[in-house]
């Protein structure tokens, strides 16, 4: 289980990295926690690895009501960040369930979002938090993509092959909004069988699922029901999700888990309110 041969470059500047990514069959090496297994299994065989770990893209800042998390911020750093806890309390809830400690020490936000694994927690969080993703290429410069237009389906994003994700920008949590992330996995840290990322505001809601549909997206019918104060209708709406079907986990089972998790998430928020 060794990777196929590749060329390796470790750019020192963003401009250098973007120029390298314009080459055919180049892959970005960030934390490597998904890419290296895929290369060891030879599911991925990039011709060129562009190791971006020396680029200054890991900063976490909060200014003007916007939380900006650099693409190279490690899961453990985001999980421990007081700025993130303040401005995006959904993220620590989710990150505590992302893989294991050693993976979180190395895995990055940008890597998880760029891969768009259907079971990954962070794409669902970006959707529920109304994030904007900042990407750049040598040919076309920087552009900003709303999360809803970034995730296009199974392992598919709006990133062009020569583009690099630079950061996620999230509006800081507004007063009156509450957040819950819940998932079911066979073992702590395993890929989610199903998960819900919920942001619930006054007469508004944003809801995304992971591990259920092949492409992560918001759930407009359930959101509308939540905004109208009808949680039962919101839970019922998840019965019509386009859930993935596989021998070990049927579509019906995934839909059932999504419904149970939304019910628990709402109960969890209600209990937190009652305690406050």
């Amino acid at each position: 289980m060794k990777p196929a041969r590749f060329d390796y470059a470790r750019p020192a500047t963003l401009a250098e990295a973007l120029a390298l990514l314009a080459q055919p069959d180049a892959a970005v090496l960030a934390g490597g926690q998904s890419l290296m297994p895929m290369m060891n299994l030879r599911v991925a065989r990039p011709a060129l690895l562009v190791d971006i770990n020396r680029l200054p893209l890991g900063e976490i800042t909060l200014a003007g009501g916007t939380l900006r998390i650099g693409a190279l911020a490690r899961h453990a750093e985001v999980l421990a960040s007081p700025l993130v806890a303040l401005a995006a309390p959904l993220l620590p809830q989710a990150l505590a369930q992302v893989a294991h400690a050693a993976i979180r020490n190395r895995g990055t936000l940008g890597g998880s979002l760029s891969l768009a694994d259907p079971a990954a927690e962070l794409p669902a969080c970006m959707l529920a938090l109304d994030a904007t993703l900042v990407v750049a290429s040598a040919a076309r410069g920087e552009r900003r993509i709303p999360a809803g237009a970034f995730f296009l389906g199974l392992y598919s994003t709006a990133l062009a092959s020569d583009e690099l994700l630079l950061a996620a920008e999230l509006p800081a949590a507004a007063p009156g909004w509450r957040f819950a992330f819940l998932e079911v996995a066979r073992r702590h840290g395993d890929f989610a069988m199903a998960g819900v990322a919920l942001a619930l505001g006054p007469n508004a809601a944003r809801l995304a699922l992971c591990g259920v549909e092949a492409g992560q997206r918001r759930q407009p019918a359930a959101e509308a029901a939540l905004a109208a104060g009808d949680p039962a209708a919101a839970i019922a709406a998840l019965a019509s999700t386009d859930a993935m079907d596989s021998p070990e986990l049927s579509a019906a089972h995934r839909r059932h888990l999504a419904q149970v998790l939304l019910r628990r998430a709402l109960a969890h928020l209600e209990a937190a309110d009652a305690a406050a």
């Binding site: 060794k2 490597g32 290296m36």
Partner: protein, 162 residues
């Protein structure tokens, strides 16, 4: 064995405090390099895709999967393996693993001990659930985990008593 024309790159790093300057094959993992080229066989190679935790090493103080990092990425880093981890916490864990029979074949033990040390350094009095969560990325096929959790809890209790 890699072919003789295998592309390599120069790296300079420290391993257990000792400075090393060498050429490494581009596609050699950090753990393979430590075992085959540096001769430190305490870090083990289990699954080679980041699932089992047998390959854990410390890179700049953080426990990482040695199979998911390339040796070439160790350039400029301080690497620590189980052979060099001689801090009081690690030694206490080694003794506790021995006393609680927290190992049988020993394949997972170096990874377990490094991960448990990282947990106890951050949280000296973890609950059993917290220990299990911290070790959830380390597979053991012998013990059934109970004595491993017992050993980590015993070191935690001793730290707490201090």
């Amino acid at each position: 064995m890699l072919p003789p024309d295998e592309p390599t790159a120069a790296i300079a790093c420290t391993v257990n405090g000792q400075a090393i300057r060498t050429q490494v094959p581009l596609r050699r993992s950090l753990v393979d390099w430590l075992r085959h080229d540096v001769g430190l066989t305490g870090s083990h190679v289990g699954c080679e895709h980041g699932v089992c935790g047998a390959c854990h090493v410390r890179v700049d103080g953080l426990v990482v999967r040695g199979c998911l990092m390339l040796a070439v990425q160790a350039d400029g880093a301080a690497i620590e393996t189980i052979e060099g981890a001689a801090d009081a916490l690690t030694l206490a864990l080694q003794q506790a693993f021995f006393e609680k029979a927290a190992l049988q074949c020993g394949f997972c033990t170096p990874g377990m001990i490094l991960q448990a040390a990282e947990l106890l350094a951050a949280n000296p009095a973890p609950s059993r659930a917290e220990v299990r969560e911290a070790l959830s990325g380390n597979y053991c096929r012998c013990t059934g985990y109970q004595p491993i959790v017992d050993a980590v809890m015993a070191v935690g209790a001793a730290l707490h008593a201090k």
